[in-house]
Subunit: 267 residues, 2 copies
């Protein structure tokens, strides 16, 4: 999952004279979760979310719920194989023991894969250099009982060469305005794509994309639009032109959430 960046000691505040120095520990957790029964990452009143579920488990074990920093705020139904979370706490904790205890109290659809002490001030969100998402498409005539909530079922014909050509156009810096419904919260719509490509494993086609950061729905609209090219309803040239800041309604539909998975985060 990559190595953690070193932080300078200045990030830790100097102890105030006369006040006892409180040892603060920063922890980094890597999480796997099945998104089907979660309303996404971010806590929302009355809804079952991963943040809320993990926060409750940490509160049970530590006595209070820490404030969580997360690498990727996944939407409802989206999965994670390598989500990264960080938080600070006062006092001592043995990370391996915390991981085992968390896995003992967490429900079956979320698990902690690793827990380690991070440099003081480490933030899973702000220190991430890149995120890698994967979108899975089951390309066969019959649906799959095993992939029903993990891959988009595509029983139609699909031009894989067109998919490859679209993905090849993604590497580099582009304006992804056409690929997100959110038009207010972003100052800039450019994103740096480090790599992008489709790969077939048996009957499953996987689109994998690594970028510095992603905007809301970005991977899902990219996939929905590439599938239109794969179905012959849009040319690769039209797809390429969308990467120059076209409006949202010129791109394709938002592919279903259950095909998407946050695979890993690099630091």
């Amino acid at each position: 999952m990559g190595s953690t960046r070193r932080h300078s000691a200045e990030i830790l505040a100097d102890p105030i004279p006369g006040v006892p120095y409180e040892a603060s520990l920063t922890l980094k957790l890597v999480l796997e979760y099945h998104g089907a029964r979660f309303r996404g990452w971010a806590a929302q009143p009355g809804l079952r979310t991963v943040e809320q579920t993990l926060g409750d488990a940490l509160g049970t074990l530590l006595g209070s719920v820490p404030s969580l920093s997360v690498a990727g705020r996944t939407d409802a139904g989206v999965h994670a194989l390598g989500q990264v979370v960080s938080f600070s706490l006062d006092g001592e904790v043995e990370p391996g023991r915390l991981m085992r205890s968390l896995n003992g109290v967490l429900p079956h659809d979320v698990a902690v894969l690793s827990a380690e002490v991070a440099p003081a001030g480490f933030s899973a969100r702000h220190d991430a250099r890149s995120r890698t998402y994967r979108y899975s498409v089951l390309a066969r005539a019959a649906p799959s009982p095993f992939l029903a909530d993990r891959a988009l079922w595509w029983p139609h014909s699909l031009d894989e060469a067109a998919l490859h050509d679209c993905a090849a156009a993604l590497a580099g810096t582009h304006d992804f305005t056409a690929f997100t419904p959110v038009q207010t919260e972003h100052v800039r719509f450019e994103r740096d794509v480090l790599s992008a490509g489709w790969r077939r494993t048996g009957e499953v086609l996987e689109f994998r994309i690594e970028a510095d950061t992603f905007m809301r729905h970005m991977v899902r609209v990219l996939v929905g639009t590439m599938l239109e090219a794969g179905a012959g309803r849009r040319s690769v040239q039209e797809f390429e032109r969308l990467l120059q800041g076209a409006p949202r309604d010129s791109a394709g539909p938002t592919a279903a959430a259950h095909g998407l998975c946050l695979e890993s985060v690099s630091y």
Copy 2:
């Protein structure tokens, strides 16, 4: 999934003089199912089983429920990627259309992967030359939200060389009395193992075994006993001696059903 064996015409009864000859069609279906919410294959009053579910769907589409022959009668919780079923029906049916219609009415945890016309008299059970089962073990410290109901979680140490040595002893004809709880219904306890072996893919260890036929719980008790050898609680030599007709209580426990999957059937 292999080719179907040719049947001699004699299997079809001669038409009775004076009674109109009814054209009978034999169909072969390949099924995939997720076993978690089924009480196994065989129909039982009041329980949700794959046989009952498929029979209901066929009854809806064909007007009557045919008698089903099945290659492997899987237990509750056991999965299938290539279960084979056959049945006869009077009249005409286009197999590809039947497959699509079945997938339209079947629940999400069972699907028809292929449907084809088989030679008259073909029986998915009696004509099968061999079955291949796979047992999956997740060998890592953390549980997996994605494999919780598909692989046995094994967070303990495991001597993979011992697993390989046990599996190597399985090829050939052996007496599997020690590996089934059923001591009455079988005339003979010998089975011909065509191949058996463990393979690691990432954090998942898969045991794959192909044999002419299997007795109840046979793969699960084999795995439960091999895991004892892998954990250092039993020697490979002890495992080998069990293959000569030892009593059931000399073998290990029955590994959990959810790790088992009927992978394919050969004809």
